[in-house]
């Protein structure tokens, strides 16, 4: 007999933000709870003069990460391996400052890539992390940029891609939306509005617009209790004018103001919590597609090769990539009133440690809504799923409320 929270679970909602690392957003929480694999304050990277650039709790909401830190495949390779190209190289996480120096050739500025937020500066994200389940070991799927990482969240694979190229998925692995539809279930991608649109699944928008709605529709579906089984929510990717005036980007992609992303996360949470029936039957996962070139101290672990190979012409490192290592760690929080307060899911190297990545998303949705399903990537088949975290026998009534000014 499953625990009651899992028994009642009828909806999974995924909110995927942009380009921030675990330590940058949540590393400061270690001082409050040593179980959280954040920062001790002693971590550093060498800058290009050889001096140590330490981590500092001086991250600002906007203005420090312009130009955008590099996060293409060769940039991330440098960040993880510090330029070591030897066959037996070890991931040291010592190349972030050197990598960012390449953007502006300004030593002082390059050291800001080590900055992280004081927890009180991110009241929404840190409250959710302390109130629900925080993953110490959730990694982006590829040491590379947005699109290939987001592909893992939709397909459990990037089909051999490590960059931002236009690609069409091979039919062998269907998207989670196709799978659910074929199984008689419902699924939707909610983009913010038409001017923000969808970021990663243009081919789905082209051929299956029935899978899409906008954020106003998401809120309306929450109120009406008509949310599909599986929902994927996209934030606003640009500053633009809407019908009611100025709309700020809420994706938290550098150099957008991080506070607007906080408000968006709170808005998604409030929309679900505002409907009592939905709240008790929904699990909300908040995560980030990749680290955006920003420092994290945990070396990405190796993973099972997927059968795909990215050639040196694609990796631009002079070496092929066999999809045998995950990307840099990102924040991930699972929200449900059936999760014990202050759950910390141990990560790499810890007793009982578990490693999650974006392929865990379709793996979990498939497990819950379809069951046995073979037509998917090796990576997805072996990915950890996360609904076992809904362990409480009684639903919590002490969960936080966010009041948006």
């Amino acid at each position: 007999m499953p625990p009651p929270g899992l028994d009642k679970l009828a909806h999974i909602v995924v909110l995927m933000m942009e380009n921030r690392s675990f330590d940058h957003m949540l590393g400061g929480l270690k001082a409050q709870d040593p179980r959280i694999d954040g920062l001790t304050g002693n971590e550093s990277n060498p800058d290009t003069t050889g001096s140590a650039a330490p981590v500092k709790a001086q991250a600002a909401y906007q203005g420090q990460l312009d130009p955008d830190p590099g996060h293409q495949f060769p940039d991330v390779d440098l960040q993880i391996f510090d330029g070591n190209m030897a066959p037996d190289r070890v991931a040291t996480m010592q190349g972030f400052v050197r990598s960012y120096f390449g953007e502006r050739h300004d030593v002082k500025h390059s050291r800001q890539i080590m900055y992280y937020y004081k927890p009180e500066k991110l009241p929404v994200l840190t409250t959710l992390a302390r109130e629900f389940a925080l993953f110490n070991g959730w990694f982006s799927s590829i040491p590379g940029p947005t699109l290939c990482n987001r592909a893992f969240a939709h397909y459990g694979s990037s089909f051999g891609h490590v960059g931002m190229d236009i690609f069409y998925p091979s039919p062998q692995f269907r998207s989670i939306y196709h799978r659910l539809e074929a199984a008689g279930r419902t699924a939707k991608i909610y983009y913010f509005d038409t001017k923000s649109s969808t970021m990663e699944v243009v081919n789905l928008l082209q051929h299956q617009p029935q899978f899409f709605g906008d954020y106003a529709q998401f809120v309306a579906d929450c109120v009406a209790g008509t949310l599909p089984d599986y929902s994927f929510v996209e934030p606003n990717y640009s500053d633009h004018d809407g019908d009611a005036g100025a709309l700020l980007a809420s994706d938290q992609h550098p150099d957008h103001d991080v506070r607007e992303g906080e408000r968006f996360i709170a808005s998604v949470y409030n929309a679900i919590k505002g409907n009592a029936a939905l709240w008790e039957s929904t699990a909300l996962l908040i995560t980030y597609d990749e680290h955006g070139g920003i420092y994290d101290h945990v070396p990405p672990p190796a993973c099972t090769p997927d059968g795909f190979v990215a050639q040196p012409s694609a990796t631009k490192t002079g070496k092929p990539f066999f999809f045998d290592r995950l990307g840099v760690r990102v924040p991930a929080i699972l929200v449900s009133p059936w999760i014990p307060k202050a759950t910390v899911v141990p990560g790499v190297g810890a007793a009982g440690g578990r490693v999650f990545e974006h392929a865990s998303i379709p793996a979990t949705a498939t497990k819950l809504f379809i069951g046995a399903y073979d037509e998917r990537s090796v990576r997805e088949k072996q990915a950890e799923t996360f609904l076992d975290l809904l362990t409480l026998n009684q639903m919590r009534t002490d969960t936080p409320d966010f009041i948006l000014d």
Partner: protein
């Protein structure tokens, strides 16, 4: 239960004239690719790279997203009435609309003026 106040983001954070990230330019390229039939796809001729501000990028994204929805609706209508589709013949070439008007850049604050990127235009384009 805790009540957490989430303050409004300061108005000064809004900058519709901000240079679009390579992520946004990449999104436009993907959308332009998707609205064109295979025979018309010539990546080097796509105008995404001429987009100079976030607001302009947003307007372009909206144009292309609407085109995708309209094209799918037209396809669905043709499928629903196959005889009519035969009489009408194959669909004609897709013409991308002109880029929306660019937005003038916001005057930078003195501190911002001192920042200078040394990245080449090429590396800016490659960043997503």
């Amino acid at each position: 239960m805790a009540k957490v106040r989430v303050p409004r983001t300061p108005r000064k954070a809004f900058d519709r004239s901000r240079r679009p990230s390579s992520l946004l330019l990449g999104q436009i390229e993907h959308l332009e690719w998707a609205v064109l039939p295979a025979s018309q796809r010539k990546p080097d001729q796509l105008p995404a790279r001429k987009v100079t501000s976030e607001a302009q990028a947003a307007e372009r994204v909206a144009q292309l997203t609407k085109m995708l929805h309209e094209s799918h609706a037209a396809e669905a209508a043709r499928a629903a009435a196959p005889g009519t589709a035969r009489a009408a013949g194959p669909p004609g070439p897709v013409i991308l609309p002109p880029l929306p008007k660019a937005v003038a850049r916001r005057k930078r604050r003195p501190a911002e003026r001192t920042r200078k990127s040394t990245r080449s235009a090429r590396s800016r384009r490659s960043r997503r």
